[in-house]
Symmetry: C2
Subunit: 97 residues, 2 copies
């Protein structure tokens, strides 16, 4: 199994509505994805200073299923239309579970 | 439940042995932790350019259990002795699951 982790920091000017829309649209992806074992997305609770703002953790049967998610048109649409315009930084890791 | 996600990028000079030691010592923490529901740590598989190098995903019953992990002397020892000396960047998020 492959676990995909992404952590995103928003630009200061990113509005609460724009951040919420990213979470809402990402959360609607799972029915479109093959080989998905788990999908969580959430906003930082503000427990630690210097944290990023959003995290995604997605588990897939294998690397091919992860790639299909990464490259899925509905996912790429969210990335280009909603995430990139308001993201200051994104860091990701894929690892074997 | 609280999900803690951390993503770390190593300095270029961080050796394979030093990276492995971080993973090994982190993986030994769970028996010391109260209210832990899941703990995974893994090295990036190299699927995407520009990725970070290490990810940790840890699930806790509540924020207090997360704080106990964050502040646990055995964890702080790993952070100070093994992670900080070879880390170029660390980004984290805690979110409600």
């Amino acid at each position: 199994m492959i676990r995909h982790v992404a952590v995103i920091t928003w630009l200061p000017e990113a509005t609460a509505e724009a951040r919420q829309q990213v979470r809402d649209e990402l959360a609607a992806l799972p029915p479109l994805l093959a080989g998905l074992r788990g999908y969580t997305v959430g906003a930082d609770i503000g427990e630690n200073e210097g944290n990023a703002d959003l995290a995604i953790v997605a588990d897939f049967d294998d690397v091919d299923c992860y790639r299909a998610y990464r490259d899925h048109p509905a996912h790429q649409d969210i990335v280009k239309r909603l995430i990139r315009p308001i993201a200051a930084q994104r860091r990701a890791v894929q690892f074997e579970l």
